[in-house]
Amino acid sequence: MFQTKPRVPTTTPLSPEFLRWQVLLRNHTMQERNGAPHAGVAPLLSVRRAGAKPAVSTHSIIVGILPAAEQLERKTEEFRTLYEEEIGHGSRALYDRGIEYLKTYYRDASSFDPHSITTMLSTESPALVGLEADPQCSLIFYVFDLDEKAEWGRFRCLQLDCTAVVHRRGPVYDNVWWHNALFHGKEDGMAVVQFLHRRTYDTRFGRLELVT
């Protein structure tokens, strides 16, 4: 009998500039914004809806990045330990401690997974149902602030075509779940979506230019 391995979706690395930008944004968020997410980490998720009209639904989400594979489980353990140590003092104390920890966590792009970005969705959300039916999707990043002179606020319109992998357990799930727990406590009924990157387009002013 032939045994077939589960098919692993193909992926290509995120552009180095994009990953650097995401790390920079998160560092800025922790250092200057007390954890309040910047628009650059809140893309629109575009999900196909076979047979429905309109054929695409769009959802606002917040995305995260994973530690590089060799650090994944160690970092998860650090998140978990931080949570266990601090939760007895309340979620505010945990939040503040989490921010302190993450101020030095987001520094070097090479410490993060160059192939994917993640989010958490309710297991009952239409976005997740749609992704399970058809994992091909797009993330639309749009940042435009004329007053912002810093690197992270520079004008960006990017479309990332991705393949979604849904995790309900396992190392990726644990990492995202414990990171989220630092800010929002333990959440039941959530799934982690890992968006494996396929290609990125620059979509400024009607363009559709492949970013390498």
Partner: protein, 267 residues
């Protein structure tokens, strides 16, 4: 006569519902400590108190009294050690104040032990403490809201437990009785070492009374610390949605509310 409460990873859900109203609550209450639970309506304070009183079984986690899971203690034994005053208790019609207060001694009765002099003494002390001697023969339903509250408080006091769980004990009381009740609570802690966990809505009263305050927000413990650490501008803004500050000292704290806030951070 002191007992410690330990709350570990508590998830609470009301029967017949599918949503946790309290999530992953972890908290330690040391013997003889006064802890006030504060927070907006619906943030999980009363539900937590019900779980501490073993009236609501946790979906996950445990409440321990001196290290023992409260659900492993017999009901009578538990009632001798822990008393709870709910938000809106209802007395059977026709029950006099004295009968109500005597009911607090029920857990101390037994097959071989009837009504004893210490029971009478406990009831008398509670009636005096709550200023109820004049109305002891009246039925509970004929009392004013404040008097009724004091009658229930007297019942709980007469139980002479190591732990008192009180849900908004001063609601409906006039200023004098409110202060007397709060002073009495502090006194019984000092004299008897009773551990007290209270839900209070008046933050300045909580700051005056409590050793530590547990701030609840959306079913979670937001902060559990001393009053001065808890009731700062940021907490008042994020949890209560007001632009306010607490000033003065621990004896006479003053809460000044300037305006509703527009919170910039929501946990």
């Amino acid at each position: 006569m002191s007992a410690a409460l330990s709350i570990g990873g508590l998830h609470l859900r009301h029967p017949g519902t599918d949503r946790d109203v309290v999530r992953d609550l972890r908290m330690e209450v040391t013997p003889g400590e006064i802890v006030c639970l504060v927070g907006p309506n619906g943030s999980g304070k009363s539900t937590t108190l019900a779980a501490l009183a073993r009236e609501l079984r946790p979906r996950r986690g445990a409440v321990r009294l001196d290290g023992q899971d409260v659900w492993s203690i017999s009901r009578r034994q538990f009632a001798r050690r822990v008393a709870r005053l709910p938000q809106e208790p209802i007395a059977p019609e026709g029950l006099t104040v004295e009968q109500l207060v005597r009911a607090g001694r029920h857990a101390h009765q037994g097959l071989w032990r009837g009504w004893a002099s210490e029971d009478a003494s406990a009831v008398e002390s509670a009636l005096i403490a709550m200023d109820l001697l004049d109305v002891r023969k009246r039925t509970v339903e004929t009392l004013s809201g404040g008097e009724r509250r004091r009658a229930w408080l007297a019942m709980v006091l007469s139980q002479e437990t190591e732990v008192l769980l009180l849900d908004e004990p001063t609601t409906g009381l006039d200023i004098r009785h409110e202060w007397e009740v709060l002073d009495l609570l502090r006194r019984i802690r000092e004299e008897r070492g009773v551990t007290l966990v209270l839900v209070l809505h008046q933050l300045d009263r909580a700051a005056r009374l409590a050793d530590r305050i547990a701030v609840f927000h959306r079913g979670r413990l937001y902060l559990h610390a001393s009053p001065s650490e808890c009731l700062n501008h940021e907490t008042l803004r994020d949890v209560f949605g007001v632009d306010a500050s607490l000033s003065g000292d621990s004896v006479s704290p003053q809460l000044t509310i300037r305006a509703p806030a527009d919170p910039t951070r929501r946990l």
